[in-house]
């Protein structure tokens, strides 16, 4: 869970790093996070469509722990590994949170009120016309098309 009013700090949770930490002959295996040779760090993408796909991650299966999904812009700092389509960083904090619509208006309003603890703008996607909002609409449209094609 991303803490409110404090930065999220990355650690390396890679299985190989954790395993080596228990092997005495490996010495000190902890490393600065992130490094290019590992996959650790807090991830963000510069591709809004790719981020929008995550709103539907594993949506075909029941996910009782998922209360709601949000998308947004994030500040990254500390050490940053830049990839072809995004970044991995040591520290992160939300900059702007965007909420997709819900079947019930009261749900999204309750989530919006809860997310206000972060002290950053929390907006409804339908009420914004940003590249992220356009990407979410595009991805939703493509998913509907795919589903209707599959049902034929």
């Amino acid at each position: 869970v991303w803490p409110a009013e404090a930065e999220l700090t990355a650690g390396c949770n890679r299985a190989w790093t954790r395993l080596r930490a228990h092997l005495p002959w490996c010495g000190d295996v902890e490393h600065h996070v992130p490094v290019s040779r590992c996959s650790c760090g807090i991830y963000a993408t510069n591709d809004p469509d790719l981020a929008a796909e995550y709103l539907y991650l594993y949506s075909e299966v029941l996910q009782p722990h998922v209360l709601y999904r949000a998308i947004g812009l994030v500040s990254l700092w500390g050490s940053v590994v830049e990839g072809e389509t995004g970044w991995r960083a040591t520290f992160a904090y939300p900059k702007r949170i965007l909420l997709p619509r819900s079947a019930r208006r009261s749900d999204v309003e309750a989530v919006r009120a809860g997310l206000s603890d972060y002290g950053v703008p929390v907006e409804l996607l339908d009420e914004t016309d940003t590249p992220v909002a356009r990407a979410v609409r595009r991805v939703a449209r493509n998913r509907r098309r795919r589903r209707s094609t599959q049902s034929w």
Partner: protein, 42 residues
């Protein structure tokens, strides 16, 4: 998220703190140390 192959690594130091931290309440703010009375030099 898939971000592709690493291209470069650098350090980012934010100009402003990205975290909107809560300001300490006035009575929680550290009190200024008492100043010694100024004595005129002889």
């Amino acid at each position: 998220v898939e971000i592709g192959k690493p291209q470069r690594t650098y350090t980012v130091e934010p100009v402003e703190d990205p975290v909107p931290r809560e300001e300490p309440a006035p009575d929680e703010a550290p009190a200024e140390p008492e100043r010694e009375p100024e004595v005129p030099a002889r």
